[in-house]
Symmetry: C2
Subunit: 225 residues, 2 copies
DNA sequence: AGCAAAATGTCAGCTAATTTACACTTCGAT
DNA sequence: ATCGAAGTGTAAATTAGCTGACATTTTGCT
């Protein structure tokens, strides 16, 4: 069980440990570098040639618009994460874009075709990349399994635990998370209504499980969640 | 096992199409072969060394047991599909097994380590495999997205459409699917209760959208779903 | 052929969570 | 410093779908 969680929390920087500096440089030289600040929207799926992106700094959310014009959060991308067409399949019928959550972000990107060439020339990297995608898949599977079989409260607890593990600053059993999400964002991530999320968060606050404000979330005792 | 036989087992998988006959023969990676019949349970995750499996014939479901002893269907595997630890990550704490759904199945397997060696020696194959895993991930994402944002009826409709597309025999707008699933199986796949699934199927039958029986499902007009 | 087990059909509560609706608070821009 | 927009708080009405509790039908087995 704990082993599983460890896997799950192993964020994706892992891939780049297998890449040498020169390899990374090679990728980044080929491409551009982009900075953006809070609230900005970055379109990346429909645009020109297929690319793979690497978030160097900050946080963004990947948002999709469905047929009815509803926004749904597909993913939260953190510093060091790759995003874009990781499956190496060009398929641009989905309308997705990224929205900047933190004060500012830095994104570097490279061409998918270049990346494919690199993989062909470097089987070890291809293998690592496959494992990396597999890890991502495992993560997605886990989070969806949670969404489907658990109630809203359990989902919120699980989300907070994940978040704390990934980004929280721990001090004893107390964990402080920099809160760049609105309650609405959180609600969307755990797939519930904004109102339900608000209620649950307030309930947790009255039960002294955490303190919530727009800047940060302090989890009183992470072992209690 | 004879070389020719091994070749036959791999030949028509899209993954290995990039390889020539002689290359495939050289692989010699198939180390296991197994036949089983309806209802049989095949354990594959916990056992000895990590393997990757290829289903040559029939249908199976991958079932997991959670902490409370509840069965959940993780995947339906059809003829030609690979299954097992496709992510190449050994991770053996999940209690999973396969149950044979069709009258009989033929499964061949190879060692994950052999497969990794193979990928390292064949960059093109490694890239194909990476895309293959990516495609699988995309599918999973899509089906989960459906599960979460749609109601039970829509989920059932979507499931039937997918199933029809994958395995149905079309004649005009009428599609006949060989039905190797119970209503309970269907319910589990679309994540609802057996009763709800039954009700929905009967409702569809009275609305002349389909005819259901244990052997086959006939969708009157696939464009109506 | 006979019987137990599995699969299917049906229905009445029950409940979590969505929806609707509105008030209050905080933030950011001018 | 003000004002509109975004974010948060709260509550009643409504509902999809689960649970439990059966009856009925079909299947596989000896």
């Amino acid at each position: 069980m704990y082993e599983e969680l460890k896997y799950w929390y192993l964020r994706d920087h892992k891939l780049f440990r297998t890449l040498s500096y020169s390899q990374i440089k090679q990728l980044c030289i080929i491409t551009g570098f982009k900075k953006a600040s809070k609230g900005e929207i970055i379109y990346f799926s429909s645009s020109d040639v297929p690319r793979i992106f690497l978030l160097k700094k900050g946080n963004i959310k990947i948002v999709a618009i469905d047929d009815n014009g509803n926004e749904t959060i597909k993913d939260i991308i953190q510093k060091g994460d790759l995003f874009g067409e990781l499956t190496l399949e060009t398929d641009n019928k989905v309308e997705e874009y990224a929205k900047v959550l933190s004060d500012d972000v830095a994104i570097c990107s490279f061409l998918m075709s270049d990346f494919e060439d690199l993989l062909l020339r470097n089987p070890t990297l291809a293998l690592s990349y496959t494992k990396f995608v597999g890890l991502k898949m495992k993560r997605i599977k886990n989070s969806y399994a949670n969404l489907i079989s658990k109630d809203a409260k359990t989902r919120l607890y699980q989300f907070l635990k994940d978040w704390a593990e990934q980004e929280g600053v721990q001090n004893g059993n107390t964990v402080v998370i920099e809160n760049y999400l609105t309650q609405n964002d959180i609600a969307q991530i755990i797939c519930t209504s904004r109102q339900t999320a608000t209620q649950l968060l307030n309930e947790m606050e009255t039960n002294n499980l955490l303190q919530y404000n727009r800047k940060e979330i302090t989890i009183t005792d992470i072992t209690q969640l």
